[in-house]
Symmetry: C2
């Protein structure tokens, strides 16, 4: 798979294609023959209002494949083992932010809408939603060294 | 799967949930344990500008799973064997139009954006994109008894 980029343990950023024409566009996300693909469990979407924060969550079994298909998202990934925080801006408005982010189990994630309109974040995950394999912390927890705007 | 509705040979409409809260929403699309699921090949998105028409296409192998996640789409399905045309309005703006439409191989499909903003149509298909298994006709073909606005 071209352009794949390991962005830290358990985190992979894959540039995606947008093919524009006068009617609109076709935007790629994930194929079963992609290097990052580990199985299909569920595809669902998170809509985030401007300024709203959805954080924090950590999965024990789910590998996330995240892609922002409308609006603009700031994704934040915290690796508790390494003590590192990574911010990744996502959205189809600029080619350099139309990326697939693959997040392995064990990393903390949160995200906020950084645009003027609600954003839509797709997650094509390897297992269906199952609250028993996930844990959460409030957005303003002291346990994660990141302050949301 | 609750609420599944066979809407003609090869066509199934499944109502989908939108779970709203003050931060935005979670919008369901497709799980591997759904009754309509026949395999994962690719998830991609078609962006359609207001008034633009993307038509017509017929697949020999691909089962489409279509869901409009932003804006509003009118999907049109033509069954050449039955001579029937079906219009299906899709979009998250109204609960009654947030549906998954499963289209079996052999049916002609086309769609247009019926809102004021570009619409985003997701397709979670059982095989990856392969032009060799699809055929097309122009939107204004005489072969399909439907006139686009």
């Amino acid at each position: 798979m071209t352009g794949m980029n390991t962005a830290g343990a358990g985190l992979t950023i894959t540039p995606l294609k947008i093919i524009n024409d006068d009617r609109g566009a076709v935007m790629h996300m994930l194929r079963a023959d992609a290097g990052v693909f580990v199985g299909f469990g569920e595809i669902y979407f998170s809509v985030v209002n401007p300024g709203a924060v959805k954080a924090w969550k950590r999965h024990r079994e789910m590998t996330l494949n995240l892609c922002c298909v409308s609006g603009a998202i700031r994704l934040v990934v915290f690796d508790a083992a390494e003590g590192t925080v990574r911010e990744i801006d996502l959205g189809p408005g600029r080619p350099e932010t139309y990326n697939l982010v693959t997040v392995a189990p064990g990393l903390w994630t949160g995200f906020t809408c950084i645009g003027d309109a609600p954003a839509v974040l797709a997650n094509c995950a390897n297992i269906p939603h199952n609250p028993a394999e996930a844990e959460g912390l409030p957005a303003d927890t002291n346990g994660i060294p990141y302050t949301w705007p």
